[in-house]
Amino acid sequence: MIFSAVPIRAVDLIGSVLMILFPFLCLRLVRQIRERNPNNVIWTYLLWVCYALAVFAISRSLGHILKQILMLAGYDAAWDIIRPLSGAINTLTFSVVAAITLFFERSWHIYQQILRDQQALKTAHRELLYMNQNLEQLVETRTRALAHSEKQMAQADKLASIGQLSAGVAHEINNPLGIILGYTQLLLRNESPDSERCNDLRTIEKHVRNCKSIVERLLNFSRSSKPKKEMVRVHEVIDDVLNFIKHQSNLDHIDIEKDYDPKLPPMLLDEKKIRQVLVNLFMNARHSVSSTGGSIILSTRFDAENHAAEIRIRDTGYGIEQKNLSRIFDPFFTTKPTGEGTGLWLSVSYGIIKNHGGDISVESEPGKGSAFTIMLPVVTEYEEIG
């Protein structure tokens, strides 16, 4: 069957010219891209691909053009001589293109690695620069933090020792107090209520009960009793405590602000004891702002990352002197006049929070107010069982 050779020749000739043209245009573009970012290994890779393609295109297209010219001129025999050489060069050149193309993944990997290293270097450089510029300040901050944590550790050690001592003393005193109270109540049964002896016995009973409550608080401080935990919504407990205090004492001239974190989940706590801690801290804050007026700010925050809840009670009262800060949780330490406070409530609060696996701390500036911060681990019922 006879076909026209024109389309084949035309496509071959025009195609061959374009085949030479395009790789050089590509080369020009890649060189321009590479000039803008000479360190980018991907552009270097593309440059090599284009070089190989250009060599392939020249060898192939020149061969094709030569073939058409020789055949049109009737020199078929000449083409038969050149043909194997042209074919061999073609094979070699497009094998090189294929081989270079296979390096794309490696080049890409190297490029990504360089980018990561560059980023890490930049970050390190920035950090170094920052440290250089703020060295003194950083050392000072670290030193302060270290001193603070040393102080906290010393205080925790001291409180632990006092707790041990208190527990021992309380246990020893508790039994004789029980016996005294028992005998006093026995004697009271046989006395007529109006007799002088009966009044004396009632006085003894009252003071023994006082002693017993002090011993109980000491035992709470020394964390000898295990908390009875249940699921508790902390915000509800804080609101209950606030209502209770509003009923008990006058809060008219005190501004109360609440800043609750809605993300705070229910927690496994001994509700009674946590309530007691909140009452203690709130009463302290109220006492601090009662004379001058001011505000009490109650805030909560949920730290999801560390599974911890923060309860903060801050007042704008007269604050605590620096010298007293380290002794604030010591049993029987009080700045109130004799007879107004036992100095046990903050110790008891400390014991309760520690018994829950949490921490309590205080920050204060005389004249500006104090802030008590309670950190409690957020334990759900499931985790506790697990």
Binding site: P23, I33, A57
Partner: protein, 169 residues
């Protein structure tokens, strides 16, 4: 003859035999055929394998471009199309070489300067038109290069648009 003399005689005799054997080997040497000969079909085989290798490498390039999600960018997408056309061109060229030279099903002869005669065995007449179309292989390799050019242009534009100079994700 003492025992020692006897031993000396045996050693001299064995040396003479060794030299004679060596001399015989040199005098009777034939062609060793140590180097393999390469006939005409090997070139064709190498060429065909190179076409498949080229197609495979382009396929691998497409795979990596897609795996690294680079084809989301228009420049790399054009380069992907270029690789696809190169694959098609390689298959086309492989097919033409197979018909023309390897299987020798097709015979082409010139009929004047502007016509050609395509001959096939009786059972393969349908191949003539297909062969004629396949001969127009520039219709595949020129688009491949034009897509490569378009891809490079886009990468250059993005490079210009990007102040940092890198257009890569």
């Amino acid at each position: 003859m003492s025992h020692r003399d006897n031993k000396k005689f045996q050693m001299a005799f064995s040396r003479i035999l060794q030299h004679l054997a060596l001399a015989w080997m040199f005098l009777n040497a034939g062609p060793a055929f140590a180097t393999q000969g390469h006939g005409a079909p090997e070139g064709l085989y190498v060429h065909q394998i190179a076409h498949m290798f080229f197609a495979l490498s382009m396929g691998i390039l497409i795979y990596w471009l897609r795996k690294r999600d680079l084809v989301r960018e228009i420049g790399w997408r054009y380069i992907q199309y270029s690789a696809l056309f190169f694959i098609l061109w390689n298959f086309d060229a492989f097919f033409v070489h197979l018909l023309e030279e390897q299987l020798q099903i097709i015979q082409v002869s010139r009929v004047g300067p502007w016509h050609i005669r395509i001959q096939t065995p009786h059972d393969f007449e349908w191949l003539r038109e297909l062969y004629y179309l396949a001969k127009l292989d520039h219709l595949l390799c020129v688009p491949a290069l034009s897509f490569l050019y378009a891809g490079m242009r886009c990468l250059l534009k993005e490079s210009d648009a990007n102040a940092s100079g890198s257009t890569l994700p």
